[in-house]
């Protein structure tokens, strides 16, 4: 990993207040993100995996400040993202962008493709004339594998995979350094997923992009990521280089997660680690280590002390009292 990470997240927290009662008092809190820290180096891809409710999507949005975090720090290229406001924040938006999961809801159905992709260029005054805008849009369309004449069409005329490409073109328009991919292929058919994954990899090589790849599909994440972070109930439980995580997972949750992934090969027989029960409610997370209620190796003090994320092997961090 290079010297200075492009993105540095320190102890990010986001608690949602639930209002209840007659006077809309704060009754409970949802601990969606409960102290998340990681770094991403330039041109790296960090995969962020976890099951529903673990807080990975919220983390992505907090980094962009689409949701305001409750506390914590985010540093992009040495700049303090949390302190920025107004026009500083707006110009920061050029450096980090996001692509969304739902290809149908992420494009304004009333705008042409040209307007959707070109909007960023207009907001940041990156073009001086309509002609220049069109030229840039055409180039972006070609970069993502679409035709120039597509720019006059509307989103509903395209398939899911094509819409995702439009979303990618939109994000690339501002030439960002960091691209947060929030489940970008989950809603697509398997054969289209491969197309989009290949496209993302090509773009990364072409433009030196850095990705935070958020997904729940471990196979996809493993394929595209340099390093992977596993989240459970608002916390990061393990971070490791992609191959190391899958070959030698240290955290019991990671082990269980990996063993649950179905392998498309009937000749491979594996021992499956079955977790009992369901994911606990993020409103009342278990005390101490959040995973102790389902953990096969949990012991008494796991409920008392929060485990810290420690580097147990070179580049391999685990948050567990008894592993590593």
């Amino acid at each position: 990993m290079s010297a200075e990470p492009l993105l540095s997240v320190k102890n990010l927290k986001k608690h949602f207040a639930i209002k209840g009662g007659v006077f809309a008092r704060n009754v409970e809190k949802v601990y969606a993100v409960d102290g998340v820290s990681f770094d991403i180096g330039k041109s790296e891809t960090l995969g962020l995996v976890g099951e529903s409710g673990c807080g990975k999507s919220t983390t992505g949005r907090c980094i962009l400040r689409l949701i305001e975090p409750s506390s914590g720090e985010v540093w992009l290229s040495g700049q303090d993202v949390m302190r920025m406001d107004g026009s500083a924040l707006r110009s920061l938006r050029r450096d980090m962008q996001i692509i969304f999961q739902d290809p149908y809801a992420s494009l304004n159905p009333r705008l042409t493709v040209a307007a959707i992709i070109g909007e960023a260029l207009q907001i940041h005054n990156l073009v001086k004339s309509k002609k220049e805008l069109e030229e840039r849009v055409v180039k972006l369309l070609e970069t993502v594998g679409l035709q120039p004449d597509h720019m006059r069409r509307f989103p509903h005329e395209f398939s899911g995979g094509q819409r995702q490409r439009i979303g990618i073109a939109r994000a690339l328009a501002v030439e960002p350094k960091l691209l947060i991919c929030d489940e970008p292929v989950s809603a697509l058919d398997v054969s289209i997923q491969a197309q989009v994954i290949n496209l993302l990899e090509d773009l990364q090589e072409q433009f030196g992009l850095t990705y935070l790849f958020i997904a729940h599909d471990l196979s996809v994440v493993e394929h595209i990521s340099t390093r992977v972070a596993v989240m459970y109930l608002g916390r990061v439980v393990e971070i490791a280089p992609s191959r190391a995580l899958y070959d030698t997972p240290l955290h019991p949750y990671t082990e269980a997660l990996l063993s649950a992934v179905p392998i498309p090969d009937p000749t491979v027989k594996r021992k499956r680690i079955m977790l009992q029960g369901d994911v606990p409610n993020p409103i009342r997370p278990p005390s101490g280590c959040h995973f102790h209620t389902r953990c096969p190796i949990a012991r008494a003090d796991c409920a008392q002390r929060d485990p810290e994320l420690l580097e147990k092997r070179p580049g391999h961090w685990v948050a567990c009292h008894y592993r590593g």
Binding site: R61, L64, L66, R90, S91, R93, R94, Q97, I98, F100, Q101, D102, A105, S106, L107, N108, P109, R110, E119, A120, I123, H124, F154, H156, G167, R170, V174
Partner: protein, 273 residues
């Protein structure tokens, strides 16, 4: 689209008609009172021998104008209130919706009566009879219809706000105003347009009702409702009078409603036109 043509004809008729059909609206001619349609009086005459066609053409302007203006008042106030409520959260939203609920519980007719009674004279002195009444009628009808529009706009905005393309716009650096104007409102206004056209229809009917009850414009002004009001007493011997007046209202309202539907569909980019 037939509706558009018919409505256009109606509008043209009331705008230009009185210049073409130069029969005066209040030429009293007892000799030919309550006559059915004839060449001199294509829609017949009323009980004072006045030409019904001329009266309908002239009064139509007022009825249509009231309908349109009331709708505009309701739409503008409604969109603004709904947009503010939908975009802000918590206190402002709650306060505005409470206000809407308040207005919804006001009875339209008695209120119109009351305001008319209180302000008619003052306004008449300021802008003349017609103007004064016009203003009162438009403001009250429009002022009591903005709530539905506001609710509709607010509901639309709340649902569109959550959509990812709005988040995408924010992520690109769009200001709140840009998000609302360029992204949210165009997607929110579809149902509002339909509601708007229904409002025109409702306003015309409301004005007709008021005039029918004798509460709107003074009796010599032949708004369609007024004409209907006058016609009701002689329905058995001169049905043509009521029928023509009623048909004018009916036809106008119907065509406006169809146009509203058509507009909403036409503005939906998903349709291949």
């Amino acid at each position: 689209m037939a509706s558009a043509v018919i409505l256009l004809l109606i509008v043209l008729a009331v705008l230009i008609g009185p210049y073409v059909w130069r029969v005066p609206i209040n030429e009293i001619d007892f000799a030919s009172k309550l006559d059915g349609p004839s060449w001199t009086h294509p829609l017949g005459t009323d009980d004072l021998g006045q030409d019904i066609l001329a009266r309908l053409l002239y009064g139509g302007r007022i009825s249509l104008a009231v309908g349109l203006c009331a709708m505009l008042v309701a739409a503008i106030v409604g969109v603004m209130v709904g947009a503010i409520a939908g975009m802000s959260r918590g206190g402002i939203d709650a306060a505005l919706m409470w206000l809407a609920d308040l207005f919804l519980s006001l009875p339209q007719l008695p209120l119109l009566l009351l305001i008319s009674y209180l302000f008619r004279d003052a306004l008449t002195k300021l802008i003349g009879t017609q103007g004064g009444i016009f203003l009162i009628v438009v403001l009250v009808i429009g002022g009591l219809r903005w709530m539905q529009v506001a609710r509709l706009v607010r509901a639309q905005i709340l649902s569109i706000r959550e959509k990812e393309f709005i988040e995408a716009a924010r992520a690109l650096g769009a200001s709140s105003i840009r998000q609302v104007v360029r992204h949210i409102l165009p997607n929110a206004l579809g149902p509002v347009i339909v509601a708007g056209t229904i409002d025109v229809a409702n306003a015309i009917i409301a004005e007709s009702t008021l005039s029918f009850l004798g509460l709107g414009f003074p009796p010599d002004i032949p708004t369609w409702g007024r004409v209907l009001f006058d016609a009701k007493d002689t329905i058995d011997i001169a049905p043509h009078w009521a029928i023509f007046a009623g048909s004018a209202i009916f036809l106008t309202v119907l065509t406006i409603n169809f146009i509203g539907d058509g507009l909403r569909d036409a503005l939906d980019p998903r349709r291949v036109l």
